[in-house]
Amino acid sequence: MTETTKKTGVSRRTLLKSTAGLAGLAAGSGAITGFPYVMSAEPKVLRYLGTAVNEGDDISKQCLKDTGIKIEYITATTDDVTKRVMTQPNSFDVLDTEYFSLKKLVPSGNILALDSKKIKEFDNITPVFTKGETPGGKKIGNQGTAPWKVLYLEGKDSKTFSKTATEFVTLIPTVYNADTLGIRPDIIKRPISSWAELLNPEFKGKASILNIPSIGIMDAAMVVEATGKYKYADKGNMTKEEIDLTMKVMTEAKKAGQFRAFWKDFNESVNLMASGETVIQSMWSPAVTKVRSMGIACTFQPLKEGYRSWASGFCVSKGVSGPKLDWAYEFVNWFLSGYAGAYLNRQGYYSAVLSTAKANMEPYEWAYWMEGKPAEKDIKAPDGSLLEKAGAVRDGGSYEERMGGVACWNAVMDENDYMVRKWNEFIAA
């Protein structure tokens, strides 16, 4: 959830805070039409609803240049994206959202699955999505809402997820990552290798988790398993008893003053870590990079129990048909054709089609981000700012190691309602 603010750049903060952000983005993308561009008979415009992860002016500009499609971003937090799909399905054309929200979106009937046969690169999509394994053949953990469980529908208008591959794809994969704990090695001064450290009293008042119930509880479950207290059948789909047990552990930690604060957006997590308010917390890869680019030591620490992963992709609103649907396919095909993939990879995310992204990256960039090799040259962000000096190695290593080490996926539980009530109880404790 709420991978809202992963993108780097100043504009993000202002954009997300309120719906004013929507207006801002609309105005921002409106400015693009100011460029001289030969218009086709009908201006090709797609309203793009999503979180900020995949959105960027660079991407929309390049898309306009390559395809003539003008993207109008509607930016919201993951929760608000879901809410909007439920309540205003006609207010957007293309939807960019996470796989775990499909359990809510698909039964609502407000989204339209895309036809895999019309996606040029569909067969080149990484097996992480289609088979649940890395290109090197490593099996990936399948707890939670793993993408391959919800990738296909049984029929065009079906509301049932298909266990086998069909041509009806719920979300065409775009971006994903493996999340873990970020730490301040300069303050902790000893190796950290387990999720259990998050609730270690040594870090009392200096730990933090995400303030999103469904993700926070999974981080807590990683801790519970790491301490050997309990082994879950599926951390992403707990029973009521398991929820009680997990929340009890969390409540005890909260009462003992373990947590400094819970964070909800990218900047909050960066500020907590950079200011030394926290020294260990669940985090996102680009946020760790951001802290490091401020000259503060921060490690995206690989842990022996594995990563918690998330993934997102594209579908369209049920109201989209005719030429608009064709543009949507054109846009999705363009998105997978390399430019956007390389852009995402350079931020520390992973693109769904690796081959096209690779063709759009310098060999030394690919070696650093994807192969876990020491950087031959300075590593720069898409906007040209320095991320890492030559010689640095990516935390967690290569794509194979990181994605192969995924233990569970962001999820919506069957007992979601109960879990939310327990979360409120936890906050009130």
């Binding site: 805070k17 439920m86 303030n211 030394g276 939310v420």
Partner: protein
Amino acid sequence: MDTSEDILQQPSPDLVRGSETARPAKAARLSPSFISWLQAGPMMLVFLAFFLIPLVFVVIVSFWDYNEYQLLPTFSGRGYTDTFEGCIAQLPDLCTIGRTYVKTLKLCVMVWAITLFIGFWVAYFLAFHVKSKTWQMGLSLLCTIPFWTSNVIRMIAWIPLLGRNGLVNSGLIKSGLINQPLEWLLFSEFSVVLALVHLFTFFMVVPIFNSMVRIDKSLIEAAYDAGATGFQTLVNVIIPLAKPGIVIGSIFVITIVMGDFITIGVMGGQQIASAGKIIETRVNALQFPAAAANAVILLIITFLIITMMSRIVDIKKEL
């Protein structure tokens, strides 16, 4: 004495026109009561469309059922029963909702008392110690400066100040007053109350100031001539006459703090329960009926508080 009062005391031109003595010819066509309905009409329509109707919907939805992805328009008390879950079983311990409201009310009382104290004296200074109208205006405008930026920024500005390695802590450590940074400065009830007071004192200043400038100065002179001490004048003249402003300011502050979840969230590190936060969590999980039920409960409690306050002062009469 003050222009706003003059306007209030003059009968409005429309009323004069509507009254039979002034314009008998027109009164034949438009009755006075019709005119007053017409005058109140636009506000009433806005109120109806943007407050009453949505409120009715909230109440209706709070009695609906729901699942993961939609509202089910069948009657269900689930939103309420879930909210009060365990309230009897857990006795004598408080249930979630009980604990949440105790916390919310506690913050509310603290913020109210502090904003009232500060607001009263700021207003007192502006009304009685600043003689020139220009300076009064200028200084009142000065009070609005914090409102020139968004309240999110005003809140975030506290963080580098109060943090573990923030200005206050490093200052105290350097001056040798403490050895360890004070943890309770940030992400605590202290920081929540501080931020709320910073944000909302102005809402207390304005109505109290407004009440105070209307106090006839000759009353104060009379009190002085009759030999009252400054304190007696304050207690027996100024406070009773400033009561409407105090009550209006209190209503502003209490209703805002009761429903707040952003300030409490940011300054409390998302670890402090509030009535608003329960609603937020529910809405984010798409559990609209449960959120609506909590909104109705919050509304009832806030309404009760305000009713109690207006028992103390009859605002309608005082205005």
